[in-house]
């Protein structure tokens, strides 16, 4: 479904991605783990067209995304929960969610999806008319995830969704991810620091170091890998 | 003889050519170009071509100082300009030091001539106090008004006129200044100040400023059915005023150089302007045209030395677009008679 082949990306003179190749098949959950500054965020940004690779190709269902504008990439069915949440601070929670469904025309379905996310995160429905900027950190994270869900993407890119969330909610988030993957067939590309949880929900995983992919395998295998254990699982 | 032919007579033209006051400076450029062209077509002055150095001073003193230095460097013998009194003050010192004279079509500050500080300055326009004096005596003696509102456009020309008028009225004692205030040029609406004039029961307004604001003030006054008399100066004595203000302009008084409609030079000047630039001449065009004529004539008579030109200017009378002109010792134009005009049936008619 999504294929990055030998992607290189730069920030000015700093090379953030070195020959990164990643393949995501339809219906799969894959996770990308790695230390701070490894280049995970950059990888996701290059998929959604915010960072432009200097070389290499990003293919989404036989379409080369290298030159496609970000809004067209969204229209193609990719939705991205970026690092740092990026809630619209002066729009209300409701309006933030509406914008999630910006490209959708099926009003009735949008309404059911809205009910669905409010059910997932009841606190959001309580805060419905509050400006997004005044939410607590965790509430903002919930809103960011919900907003992406509202787009009903076929491919969901998530950058550290568990950041700043209470343990109870973290568990819940990962359950939800599994659930929408199973029920709606949404493909998920997950970047996480909480490698243990991520690998448990994902089918396959990639490990990134200093901008390069150093390891990839089924997540059950990675969970047992000594190197991964010591570096990322903290055991 | 050969030498002289090779050496053009260098003349500076300085004033606001960009920015908000450009419309008062550019007509002078056109006038200078027209007159220079006329001379050059006839073989120049004593065989030398006239070469113009046109420099923008945006009507700002410090820019004018630079402009003046530039013109000095260019080797001009005389300058037509500047347009605003402030810029003129700032430039004159530089000219004086380099033996260059300036002849302005529009700088009206009394001090320019009356202080005696600037023997190199001449002008083809009356100073503020002369015009103001005329407006006030006309209002008091002829129109016999008791309550006068004095308005101005806050520029140095308009405010100078208005302040002089106010002082004359107060000194005279027969009438009372009921409102003294400024309007903002380019403001969208003047009804507040008009309402105030209405409230004050003024019989007449003396306005110092230019025609764009005047036409709007008069227009809005007549719209309200006010028949307050309106007296202004040469900034308003311009046919554009009649065209913009339309019927509201009927009855408006303005002082201005005498005898222009019948003046063949003025008629010809306007016609040449239309031919060359395809539009009506703008403010101070005739004064500038007169300045150029007087200056070139003086050079023809007195040569290109400072002494020669200034003497010639003071001692010869020339027919110009503002009438026959000769300059007095201080640099004001003698013989530019001033008269009061009134708009009657869509044109300015000289009274008396």
């Amino acid at each position: 479904m999504l294929e990055l082949s030998a992607v290189n990306a730069f920030y000015g003179r700093i090379q953030a991605l070195k020959d990164v190749s990643i393949r995501v098949s339809a219906g799969e959950i894959i996770t990308l783990i790695g230390a701070n500054g490894a280049g995970k965020t950059t990888t996701l940004m290059s998929v959604s067209g915010i960072v432009r690779p200097a070389s290499g190709a990003i293919m989404f269902e036989d379409r080369n995304l290298n030159e496609v504008e970000p809004d067209q990439i969204v229209a193609a069915g990719i939705s991205h929960v970026p690092e740092g949440r990026r809630i619209f601070p002066y729009l209300t929670v409701q309006e933030n969610l509406d914008l999630g469904a910006y490209l959708r025309r099926d009003r009735a379905a949008v309404r059911t999806d809205l009910d669905y996310v409010f059910e997932l995160f009841p606190i959001l429905s309580q805060r419905r008319h509050q400006p997004g900027g005044t939410l607590s950190g965790g509430e903002q994270q919930m809103l960011a995830i919900s907003r992406a869900l509202m787009a009903r993407p076929r491919l969901l890119l998530l950058d550290e969704p568990s950041l700043g969330l209470a343990p109870l909610i973290v568990q819940q988030i990962f359950e939800i991810l599994g659930q929408i993957n199973r029920e709606n067939g949404t493909t998920i590309f997950l970047v996480e620091q909480n490698a243990y949880m991520a690998l448990r929900v994902a089918h396959r995983g990639y490990v990134m170091e200093n901008g390069s992919i150093v390891l990839t395998d089924d997540s059950t295998v990675l969970l047992e890998n000594e190197q991964v254990k010591s570096a990322y699982l903290g055991v | 003889q050969r030498e002289a032919e090779a050496q053009p007579v260098r003349i500076g033209v300085a004033g606001a050519h960009s920015g908000d006051l450009a419309s008062y400076g550019l007509p002078t450029v056109n006038a200078a170009e027209l007159v220079a062209e006329m001379y050059n077509e006839n073989g120049g002055i004593n065989g030398s071509r006239i070469q113009l150095f046109i420099e923008d001073d945006v009507c700002q003193p410090e820019v004018a100082a630079n402009t003046a230095a530039k013109l000095v460097g260019d080797g001009v013998v005389a300058v037509i300009g500047h347009i605003c009194s402030g810029a003129t003050f700032a430039a004159l010192g530089t000219y004086l030091d380099s033996d260059i004279l300036a002849i302005s079509p529009s700088a009206t500050a009394p001090d320019l001539t009356q202080s005696g500080d600037y023997p190199n300055f001449f002008r083809t326009i009356a100073s503020d106090d002369a015009q103001a004096q005329m407006q006030v005596s006309f209002a008091l003696d002829t129109l016999d008004v008791q309550r006068i509102a004095v308005l101005h456009d806050r520029g140095d020309y308009g405010r100078g006129l208005a302040e002089n008028a106010r002082d004359f009225i107060e000194a005279d004692g027969r009438a009372e200044v009921v409102v003294f205030d400024g309007v903002t040029p380019g403001a969208v609406d003047y009804s507040a100040i008009i309402a105030r004039i209405q409230q004050s029961n003024a019989d007449a307004i003396i306005y110092g400023g230019y025609h764009p604001e005047a036409s709007r003030i008069v227009g809005q006054m007549r719209d309200r059915g006010m028949d307050t008399l309106f007296i202004s100066g040469d900034g308003v004595k311009d046919d554009t005023f009649i065209q913009t203000a339309g019927p509201a302009s009927e009855g408006v008084y303005a002082t201005g150089p005498m005898d222009l409609s019948g003046n063949p030079v003025a008629v010809e000047a306007a016609q040449r302007h239309r031919d060359k630039y395809g539009e009506e001449p703008g403010p101070f065009f005739l004064e500038a045209y007169a300045a150029a004529l007087a200056l070139f004539n003086a050079i023809e008579i007195g040569g290109t030395t400072y002494e020669g030109i200034t003497n010639a200017l003071r001692n010869n009378t020339v027919d110009t677009s503002v009438g026959p002109v000769r300059f007095d010792a201080r640099g004001d134009a003698e013989g530019v008679g001033f008269a009061v005009y009134q708009v009657q049936n869509g044109e300015y008619v000289e009274l008396r």
Binding site: V74, R86 | A187, R216
Partner: protein, 300 residues
């Protein structure tokens, strides 16, 4: 009392005039946080286009109403095109740089357009034809309201309501607000940010042109410089009302208009602009984000 009413109407007129310009200002500011110094120039170009068109049409022998309608429409289309082009040339390339670069670019644009019109047309004032017909029912009021004043006021109100609805409730409006707060995120949600910004300029410029036609019919004359001071006043009004807020721009304009006309009427018209600027300072001291502006989100 009549005097007071007169001043009131005068303030209302000024206010409506400022508002027509402030609306565009505030929209553009709202989306790219740019003090668009050239907005006044767009208004001036609208007025010139209308003047040129009206002259051509009146020679062609059309009646006043058709001239008004056609001239306004064409002026709006042209100004919108100018706004659009200006954004592409002068603002889009600096969008991702420091904010002040765009401001300087706007100042350059303003100078350029002023002189462009001065050179191509004239530096002199030109009488602007009275395009607005006389409205009979206004004569019956006890105080003086001219047709132009009335039409300007009504137009301002209508435009304000339409724009408010557009921004608050329409999809486009939501995307405008989103783009104004976080362009990257808006893109990530599928908003074509370039198009949204261009559209904002188009709408803002068309409003300015409408203002240009109506205001010039009221003032009766135009030249290449009318945009500058009007632009500054509109900017003051927009800030006074809370920049970025559509109703704020209108409220700010009225406050400004009344301050000026009452100040001029009761104190001195010499200091009219001083009152205008003083009220601005005063209001901002007590309400740092303007009358209807959104307060700073202080969440830490």
């Amino acid at each position: 009392m009549n005097y007071f009413l007169g001043l009131f109407v005068s303030g209302l007129t000024r206010g409506s005039i400022y508002a027509l310009l402030a609306l565009g200002y505030t929209m553009v500011y709202g989306i790219i946080e740019l003090i668009n110094f050239a907005h006044g120039e767009i208004y001036m170009i609208g007025a010139f286009t209308a003047l040129i068109l009206a002259s051509v049409l009146s020679i062609a022998g059309l009646d006043a109403i058709s001239i008004l309608v056609i001239a306004s429409l064409v002026a709006m289309i042209y100004s919108a095109a100018y706004g659009f082009t200006m954004e592409k040339i002068a603002y889009k390339p600096v969008r991702n740089s420091q904010r002040l670069s765009a401001l300087i670019s706007a100042i350059g644009m303003s100078l350029f357009l002023q002189n462009y019109v001065r050179l191509a047309q004239t530096s002199n004032f030109l009488p602007f034809p009275t395009l607005i017909p006389r409205l009979g029912f206004l004569q019956q009021l006890t105080f003086q309201v001219t047709s132009a004043q009335f039409v300007i006021f009504v137009t301002t109100t209508v435009v304000m309501i339409l724009l408010t609805l557009l921004i608050k409730f329409s999809r486009v409006g939501k995307s405008m607000r989103a783009a104004s707060q976080d362009k990257t995120m808006a893109m990530l949600l599928g908003v074509n940010v370039n198009r949204v910004i261009a559209l904002t300029f188009v709408i803002g410029s068309a409003t300015a042109a409408l203002g240009g036609v109506l205001i010039s019919s009221f003032t009766g004359q135009i030249n290449f410089y009318i945009g500058f001071m009007a632009g500054i006043k509109a900017f003051v009004a927009a800030v006074l009302g809370g920049i970025g807020s559509i109703p704020g721009a209108v409220l700010g304009s009225f406050v400004l208009g009344w301050t000026e006309s009452f100040g001029a009427g009761y104190i001195s018209s010499d200091y009219e602009d001083v009152f205008a600027f003083a009220i601005l300072v005063l209001i901002l001291i007590f309400k740092p984000s303007g009358l209807l502006g959104r307060p700073e989100n202080k969440k830490v």
